[in-house]
C-alpha cells in the first residue's frame, strides 16, 4: 500500500496546477463562460500542446498510457480552477469509447485528433425520460443500404454546442429500456437533419439539446456492434465518473479553503467568527466529508481502468454516492458559513457551490448510485 506519487505523476500535477493557476482566474473564467464557445479555446489547445489531452490514451494509440490516477491528478486541478473545457466528455468518455469500440481505422483516424485536442467530442446519451439510465433509449436508428438514419431527441449534451462530433446512442432494435439493441453513432452536428438548441448551464458551462430528424450516418461512423454497446457505455461512464469525482474533489478542497480562510478573517462580535464553536464544528464536518470524498476519489481512480467486474461497478457507484453527498453538504455549508457574501456572483465560492451541486446531475445523482450499489450489494 502506497499513496505516494511517482516523479512523473508529480510533474503532471505540477503542470496542471500551473496551467490552471495562470490561465484560470475567476475573471478569466467569467469571460470564457460568457463567450460564444463557453470555454477557452486557447486553454483547450494548450492542454493539447502539452499533451494533457493525450495522457489517458494507450501508448500504442499515441497516448501516454496514463491510468485513472493521472486523470485524477489533472481533474482535481481543473476542479480547483472551475475549468470549463469538456475534458471528461471529449477525452475520457468519447475518447474512451473510441478506444474501446473503434476498429483500427477509426482509432487511427480519430484518436490522434482527440488526443491532441484538435477535435472536441462529446456524448449524447441522456433523453428526456432516461433519468441517468443508459439503457433507456428511444432515439431510433434505422438501417438501409448505405448506412443508418437517426431520429429522436437527446437531452442536455454538455459541450454539444461546440463539439466537432457527437457520439449518440440510438436504438437499433427492441423497446425503450431494453439492455440489448443500443447502437453508437458518431454524428456531425452540421449534418442535414441535426438541430441544436444551445444554452448556458447553471454552473457556467454550455450545452445543448439535440434534435435528430432522419440524420444520415455512414457505416464508418458506427462505433462497435450496433445493438451491443451498452456494456461499453457503462464501462466508460465509470471512467467518466472517476474523473468527475476528482474534479469535485478539487472544487471541494477549494470551497473548504475559502471557507476556512473566511472563518479566520471575518470579524463579528469583536472576534474572528472561527472562534465560535458552532462554526468550528461545522467546518470540521466539512473537513470530514472532504476526507471521505478524497478516499473515494482515490479508490475510484485506482479501479477506473481495471477490467470490468461487479467489484469495479460497486466501487464506482460508492464513489459517486459518497462524493455527491459530500459535494452537496460542502456546497451548502460553505455558503452558510460565509453568510451573505457566499450568495454573490462576484465571489468564487458560489461558483464552486453551483458546480458541486450540478455535477450530481450528470452520470447519476446520489439516489441513482445508492440504488445501483444496493442492487450490487455483496450478500454472499
Amino acid at each position: 500500500m502506497n499513496f505516494n506519487l511517482t516523479e512523473e505523476q508529480q510533474m503532471l500535477q505540477d503542470t496542471a496546477t500551473r496551467l490552471v493557476r495562470d490561465g484560470y482566474s475567476l475573471e478569466a473564467r467569467e469571460q470564457h463562460s460568457r463567450s460564444e464557445e463557453g470555454f477557452s479555446r486557447a486553454f483547450w489547445q494548450q492542454l493539447g500542446e502539452l499533451g494533457l489531452t493525450a495522457v489517458p490514451f494507450p501508448e500504442a494509440l499515441g497516448g501516454f498510457g496514463g491510468s485513472g490516477v493521472e486523470t485524477m491528478l489533472m481533474m482535481a486541478e481543473f476542479g480547483r480552477g472551475l475549468c470549463l473545457e469538456p475534458y471528461v466528455q471529449s477525452v475520457i468518455y468519447a475518447g474512451g469509447l473510441i478506444t474501446q469500440l473503434g476498429n483500427p481505422s477509426q482509432q487511427r483516424d480519430w484518436l490522434p485528433r482527440v488526443a491532441s485536442a484538435q477535435w472536441l467530442l462529446t456524448v449524447a446519451f441522456e433523453e428526456a425520460q432516461s433519468h441517468y439510465h443508459l439503457n433507456d433509449v428511444q432515439t431510433r436508428a434505422e438501417r438501409d443500404a448505405e448506412g443508418w438514419t437517426l431520429t429522436g431527441r437527446k437531452a442536455v449534451v454538455i459541450g454539444g454546442h461546440q463539439a466537432d462530433l457527437i457520439l449518440v446512442s440510438a436504438r437499433v432494435s427492441g423497446e425503450s429500456r431494453d439492455e440489448h439493441g443500443i447502437g453508437l453513432f458518431l454524428i456531425d452536428p452540421q449534418a442535414v437533419g441535426v438541430e441544436r438548441r444551445s444554452y448556458q448551464t447553471v454552473d457556467g458551462h454550455k450545452g445543448c439539446d439535440l434534435y435528430l430528424s432522419k440524420v444520415r450516418v455512414a457505416n464508418d461512423h458506427v462505433l462497435g456492434e450496433p445493438g451491443q454497446v451498452l456494456a461499453a457505455l457503462r464501462y466508460q461512464q465509470g471512467r467518466a465518473i472517476a474523473a468527475q469525482c476528482a474534479e469535485a474533489l478539487g472544487s471541494m478542497e477549494e470551497a473548504c479553503r475559502l471557507t476556512l480562510d473566511y472563518l479566520k478573517t471575518r470579524q463579528q462580535f469583536g472576534m474572528p467568527i472561527g472562534q465560535f464553536q458552532v462554526l468550528q464544528h461545522r467546518m470540521v464536518d466539512m473537513r470530514t466529508e472532504l476526507e471521505q470524498a478524497t478516499s473515494m476519489a482515490i479508490l475510484a481512480a485506482c479501479c477506473a481502468d481495471q477490467v470490468d467486474s461487479t467489484e469495479r461497478s460497486r466501487t464506482l457507484a460508492a464513489a459517486k454516492f459518497i462524493v455527491t453527498r459530500a459535494a452537496r453538504s460542502i456546497a451548502e455549508q460553505a455558503i452558510q458559513l460565509h453568510g451573505a457574501i457566499g450568495m454573490t456572483w462576484e465571489y468564487a465560492l458560489g461558483h464552486h457551490a453551483k458546480r458541486l451541486v450540478m455535477l450530481s446531475h450528470q452520470f447519476g445523482d446520489d439516489d441513482h448510485h445508492l440504488k445501483a450499489y444496493s442492487t450490487l450489494l455483496d450478500v454472499a
Binding site: 506519487l5 472562534q275 468550528q280 470540521v284 482515490i298 445508492l370 450499489y373 450489494l377 450478500v379
Partner: protein, 398 residues
C-alpha cells in the same frame, strides 16, 4: 499510488489468519459473534494465546516484548481479529499504561509492570474521569498528598471500565492544588487491593455491569509508583489519549457487524421475503457499507502517512468520529432487522450455555441492548464533540 497491500503485507495477513484459525477458541468467537457475555476467564484465555504467539503487545517496541509491527500490520491484525470474532484486547494495560511506561517510566517500573501485562498477571483499569471531570478532564479533584515515602490519595473516579476485574489502576491525581489546571496533575499507579479503595458498580441502560465508581479513602501509594515527574502527569495523559484514539475507528469490528447484519437480514422475513430484499432496508445497508468503505480507505491513508512516524496525529480524531457513527448506524439497523423481537429483555439468553431454547433466534436477545450499549462509542475516548475541538485546533488551526 497503489491501494493494495504489498506481497509482504498479504503474507503477514495469511500468517495472522492461520494463527486465528488455530488458536482462537471457538466458544469465545461464538460469544462475540452472537453478542453473548464474555467472562474474565474468556478474556484471559485469549490474552494468553496471543502472548504465547508473541502477538499480544502490538504497540510495543520489540525490546520490551512487543511485535514491532508497522501501523499497517497492526491494522491488518486488528481487522482479521475482528472479522473472526476475536474479543478486542482490553486496552488499559497493553495499549494505554504500557506505552506511557515505555515512554516515561523508570527502568524499574518497566521491568516490573511490562512482563506482568504480557503474561496477564495484572489487569489494569483507567482512573481518569471523575463525577466533575468528563470532557473537561483537567478539572479533576482526586488529590495525592506526599507523606514520607508515600502519597495519600483521596477522591473518586468514575466510568471505570471493567474495574471490577482489575488489580491495578492508573490514575490522574492532583498533586498541586495551587497550580493552573493542567499543571499540578500527576500520573500514579495504584494497587486496587490497597486499603481504602472501594469499587461500586454502575449498571448501564442495557442492564450491564461494565463500568464502576472507584473511591479512594486515605489510600497510601508508594512514591515509586509515580510515573514521570510530579505535577507533569498531563503530558502522560495526552500521550496516552493519542494511543487511545488510534484504532477507535474500529473498521474491523464494523465489518464484522455489517456481515452479521447481512446474514441475519437474509434470515428475517418481511412481507414474505428477506429483509435484505426490502428495497428501503437494503438501501440503508448499502449506504452504511459505502460509508464504511470510505472510512476504511481514510484509515489506510492515515496509516500510510504515519508508517514511519508511529502514531497518527489529529487525523485519528476524524476517523474516531466517522468510525463510531458507522458502528452506531449498524447497531441501529441490527436492532431493526428483528422487528418486535428487539423488545424481550431476557437475561439468560446472553449466556452461550443457556439450556433454554432461544425465544426467537440465538442472535436476537442482544441486539437492542447492544444498540444502547454502543451509544457509549461517541462519548468515550474523548466525546465526538471533543474530537471536533481537536480537529478544529490541530488541523484547521481555528
Amino acid at each position: 499510488m497503489d491501494i493494495h497491500f504489498t506481497a509482504e503485507e498479504l503474507a503477514f495477513r495469511d500468517e495472522v489468519r492461520a494463527f486465528l484459525k488455530d488458536k482462537l477458541p471457538q466458544d469465545i468467537a461464538d460469544k462475540v459473534r452472537l453478542g453473548k457475555h464474555l467472562s474474565k476467564a474468556d478474556h484471559q484465555r485469549w490474552q494468553k494465546a496471543q502472548s504465547e504467539q508473541g502477538w499480544y503487545a502490538t504497540h510495543w517496541p520489540v525490546a520490551f516484548g512487543g511485535t514491532g509491527w508497522s501501523a499497517v500490520q497492526k491494522h491488518i491484525y486488528e481487522e482479521e481479529c475482528a472479522v473472526v470474532g476475536a474479543p478486542r484486547s482490553i486496552p488499559f494495560g497493553v495499549s494505554m499504561v504500557a506505552p506511557v511506561l515505555i515512554k516515561f517510566g523508570t527502568a524499574q517500573q518497566q521491568d516490573h509492570y511490562l512482563p506482568r501485562i504480557l503474561n496477564g498477571e495484572d489487569w489494569w483499569c483507567q482512573g481518569y474521569s471523575e463525577p466533575g471531570a468528563g470532557s473537561d478532564l483537567a478539572s479533576l479533584k482526586t488529590h495525592a498528598v506526599r507523606d514520607g515515602d508515600h502519597y495519600i490519595v483521596n477522591g473518586q473516579k468514575t466510568w471505570t471500565t471493567l474495574g471490577q476485574h482489575a488489580n491495578m489502576i492508573f490514575c490522574l491525581v492532583r498533586t498541586d492544588s495551587q497550580a493552573q489546571k493542567q499543571r499540578g496533575i500527576s500520573f500514579l499507579l495504584i494497587d486496587m487491593n490497597s486499603p481504602g479503595i472501594s469499587v461500586r458498580p454502575i449498571i448501564t441502560l442495557d442492564g450491564e455491569h461494565e463500568v464502576n465508581e472507584v473511591f479512594f479513602d486515605n489510600v497510601r501509594v508508594p512514591v515509586e509508583n509515580l510515573v514521570g515527574e510530579e505535577n507533569h502527569g498531563w503530558t502522560c495523559a495526552k500521550y496516552l489519549l493519542t494511543y487511545e484514539r488510534t484504532g477507535l475507528a474500529g473498521i474491523g469490528v464494523s465489518k464484522a457487524a455489517l456481515d452479521h447484519l447481512k446474514r441475519i437480514a437474509r434470515l428475517q422475513l418481511s412481507e414474505g421475503k428477506a429483509m435484505l430484499d426490502d428495497p428501503l432496508f437494503r438501501a440503508q445497508v448499502a449506504e452504511v457499507e459505502m460509508q464504511l468503505m470510505a472510512t476504511e480507505m481514510s484509515t489506510l491513508r492515515t496509516l500510510a502517512a504515519a508508517k514511519d512516524g508511529g502514531v497518527p496525529g489529529a487525523e485519528s480524531s476524524i476517523l474516531k468520529i466517522k468510525g463510531t457513527e458507522i458502528r452506531q448506524a449498524i447497531s441501529h439497523l441490527l436492532r431493526k432487522v428483528i422487528g418486535p423481537y428487539a423488545l424481550p429483555f431476557v437475561e439468560e439468553e446472553l449466556d452461550l450455555d443457556s439450556p433454554d431454547e432461544p425465544l426467537h433466534a440465538d442472535y436476537s436477545a442482544t441486539l437492542a441492548r447492544q444498540y444502547f450499549n454502543l451509544r457509549k462509542l461517541s462519548i468515550f475516548g474523548g466525546s465526538n464533540e471533543i474530537q471536533k475541538n481537536i480537529v478544529s485546533k490541530m488541523i484547521l488551526e481555528l
